[in-house]
């Protein structure tokens, strides 16, 4: 019955310590399935075998006759090691193609392991390329189509995100902060409050979508994990800046756009909304020098922009691939972008969102007019970059939000 002489010896050794245990019903059911006579489990236990051994034998599919033979002192049964003989591709020696990056997940995509199917039909957590069990429980994934989530760039971007990670507590020179005029400090803090809110929320939402994506596209899940981790760092960095220089947290972020994200029913809708927000924020942080008040902020915005550039690269390529593969869904996307633009404009028109930026761009509350002028230019750039990013994904917005149009044409 056992998997080896030593197992039996070990069992006998511990027999003295054996207590009376209930035999789990699962074990009895499994024994019955395998043709074990009633009482054979108890007999095995009485001979000094542990319940662990019995269970191991049952899980290994040892049939009743074999078990009985073993317990009667017959020949030992050795495992068959059937898993050694499964017909997966063998002899793989992945090597780093770029020594600077090391052995990347892209380097693993060789032979059949590099086959990333258009449709993945295994509903379990099976690793792509391994040999499937004949029967598995459905793990509840809902995304099985490459066209929905895939972008080739997520493969290198995952490793690049890891290479380019930074640490908010030690990579920013917090001790260098100097006191700012109160209105300027409060403007920085209000902006940080909003951005910390948005980053945390975005991280939580992306996280909630991870369990929807099947293992067929594990590279996407890996990349999104870096996005989530980046957003955690942004949440933390912005909060730290708000609380490090004589200010505090201000009014919580507006909720209109974020609610739209929460209302997304499918991954493409979610991705469209994040495309919009991430594009606008990327442009904002790329222009961080124009509203940063010190070197720490310049460094922080530059690092955040570098992280967000990866997100944007994923968005553009995923959306382009999606439109190419599913052209019938092109018109539908206009609806999501339209909804997102309308809600984002609501957020933008809130003075608690626009005024801190204008104050920082202008250089103080006495220069609000000049600051608003600069903010108009920044908003224009944000909308233009967004439209350009959509164009890179081969998408022309049919009815760009009229307020966004006004900003572009101002």
């Amino acid at each position: 019955m056992s998997t080896g002489r030593a197992l039996a010896a070990a069992a006998q050794q511990s027999a003295a310590e054996q207590q009376d245990f209930d035999i789990p019903q699962d074990a009895r059911d499994r024994a019955r399935e395998l043709g074990w006579e009633d009482g054979l489990i108890e007999f095995a236990l009485s001979k000094g075998h542990t319940l662990q051994e019995v269970w191991q034998a049952l899980r290994g599919g040892v049939d009743g006759a074999t078990a009985k033979q073993f317990l009667a002192g017959g020949q030992l049964v050795r495992p068959e090691f059937s898993w050694m003989k499964v017909p997966t591709e063998w002899g793989i020696r992945a090597r780093a193609s770029d020594p600077e990056l090391g052995l990347t997940i892209g380097d693993l995509n060789i032979g059949t392991y590099g086959d990333i199917p258009d449709h993945w039909d295994n509903r379990s957590e099976i690793a792509r390329g391994s040999y499937p069990n004949p029967t598995n429980e459905d793990m509840g994934y809902t995304i099985f189509d490459k066209a929905i989530v895939w972008a080739d760039c997520c493969v290198p971007l995952y490793e690049i995100a890891i290479r380019d990670r930074w640490v908010a507590s030690t990579d920013l020179r917090w001790a260098s902060l100097e006191t700012l005029p109160e209105d300027v400090e409060k403007a920085v803090c209000q902006l940080m409050t909003e951005q910390s809110d948005r980053a945390y929320y975005a991280g939580a939402v992306w996280s909630g979508w991870l369990p929807e994506i099947s293992y067929g596209y594990h590279e996407v899940k890996f990349f999104l994990s870096t996005v989530i981790y980046d957003l955690a760092r942004h949440t933390e960095a912005f909060r730290k800046r708000a609380l490090a220089n004589g200010g505090g947290l201000g009014l919580q972020a507006p909720t209109d756009f974020s609610r739209a994200i929460r209302e997304a029913r499918t991954f493409p809708e979610l991705a469209a909304l994040f495309f919009l927000q991430d594009s606008l924020l990327l442009t904002l942080f790329k222009n961080g020098d124009s509203f940063a008040q010190n070197q720490l902020e310049r460094d922080m915005y530059a690092l955040v922009a570098r992280d967000r550039q990866r997100m944007m690269d994923y968005h553009v390529e995923r959306f382009k691939h999606f439109l190419y593969k599913l052209p019938s869904r092109r018109e539908e996307q206009d609806l999501y972008f339209g909804k997102g633009e309308a809600q984002m404009f609501k957020d933008w028109k809130d003075p608690v969102v626009s005024e801190p930026l204008a104050l920082l761009l202008g250089g103080g509350k006495e220069h609000m007019e000049a600051g608003h002028e600069k903010l108009r230019a920044l908003r224009k750039l944000q909308v233009q970059d967004y439209v350009d990013n959509l164009a890179r994904a081969t998408f022309q917005r049919k009815n760009l939000n009229s307020r966004f149009k006004e900003i572009l044409e101002a």
Partner: protein, 347 residues
């Protein structure tokens, strides 16, 4: 159409008068960590009621803020007293599976050993895959009032992605490949959890605890320096996840002692009602057999491997009981499922 407030703005500036208590956190020896900013009205101790709007703790509530759907309103539902420290530790101790493992030092192994290692890695890449999805499933329910717990879970998602990838890399880097799917590992119970604490006890304390005990035997399991390093680096991450779970359980038992029986109930289901060895069960035959080959040093030393496997199992169960005891659930020792109870050392 009304004037576009972006192109023709008025002035409000009311946000300049929301507070007048200056916060000036100063960096400590480890930089400006979450601990340094966890002060005054921004601290977790000053947490108010949850509000379902994702308002970060300490931010001024916005009139008219919309709710985003249910999330946990009570701190004890998700909190762990060490999450602030663990998140910062995670940021400092990130590693790269691409560059921090000496892949070019892998040595050709006997076929049976390579196959055993690849089988183990096939199982581990699945386990770690679920370990990333599971916290993801719960993050939308973690209130921004307890954002440090949320940030920690986000760092865990990153860790688990790296683990999923490093075991896949190992399987494909040394002349092997992936082998049999490790179904039947009790992983579904992790995503079946309907409560954060249930999830945390099953995943952080039980499943990751079992995996951690195994990784700590990596010096015996690993056949090359690269293999041993993989287990060491992964164990370092698992320690954080485990620590979060133990301290979360402790927090729940300290603050909501009426939940004790409920938590026992989850564990009864996971380890007692079924014959399975709990989530992360290593007794699945391909895993058991491959571990025995690796621990023994070959198919011909399988019996030695079985002895060591039983030691591993004993270690897993005793460490599990110890962790539960630290968390305040020491009475679990007397209620363990039969497959675990047989390995427990006398109290």
């Amino acid at each position: 159409m009304a004037a576009n407030p972006i192109t023709k703005p008025g002035l409000d500036l009311s946000w300049l008068n929301l507070y007048d208590d200056a916060a000036s956190a100063t960096p400590g020896k480890k930089g400006l960590t979450l601990k340094e900013i966890n002060t005054g009205r921004y601290s977790d101790a000053a947490r108010g009621a949850g509000d379902m709007t994702y308002r970060m703790r300490g931010a001024v509530p916005r009139p008219g803020a919309q709710r985003f759907g249910p999330n946990y309103m009570s701190k004890s539902d998700v909190w762990s007293e060490n999450c602030v420290m663990l998140y910062e530790e995670a940021t400092q101790r990130q590693w790269s599976s691409a560059r921090d493992i000496p892949w070019n030092e892998l040595e050709t192994l006997p076929d049976e050993i390579e196959r055993a290692m690849c089988q183990l890695c096939t199982m581990l890449t699945e386990v770690e895959f679920i370990a990333g999805d599971t916290p993801g499933q719960w993050l939308p329910f973690v209130s921004a009032q307890d954002f440090e717990a949320g940030l920690f879970l986000m760092s865990q998602i990153m860790d688990e992605a790296r683990h999923t990838d490093v075991f896949r890399k190992r399987a494909l880097a040394n002349g092997g490949g992936l082998l049999a799917q490790g179904a039947g590992l009790g992983l579904r119970s992790l995503i079946e959890a309907r409560d954060f604490t249930e999830m945390s006890v099953l995943m952080h304390v039980q499943a990751e605890g079992f995996v951690q005990s195994m990784f700590r035997m990596g010096e015996l399991i690993g056949q090359t320096d690269a293999d041993k390093r993989i287990f060491r680096m992964s164990a370092q991450d698992e320690s954080r996840h485990l620590a979060f779970g133990v301290m979360h359980l402790k927090y729940v038992l300290d603050t909501d002692p009426e939940r004790r029986e409920e938590i026992h109930h989850y564990l009864d289901k996971a380890e007692g009602d079924s014959a399975g060895g709990g989530s992360g069960d290593v007794t699945f035959p391909p895993v058991f057999e491959s571990l025995c080959i690796l621990l023994g040093g070959g198919v011909d030393k399988f019996d030695e491997g079985v002895q060591k496997f039983l030691l591993l199992r004993k270690r897993q169960i005793n460490e599990y009981v110890h962790r539960l005891t630290v968390a305040g659930l020491g009475d679990r020792r007397d209620r363990l499922g039969p497959l675990m109870a047989q390995f427990v050392d006398p109290a």
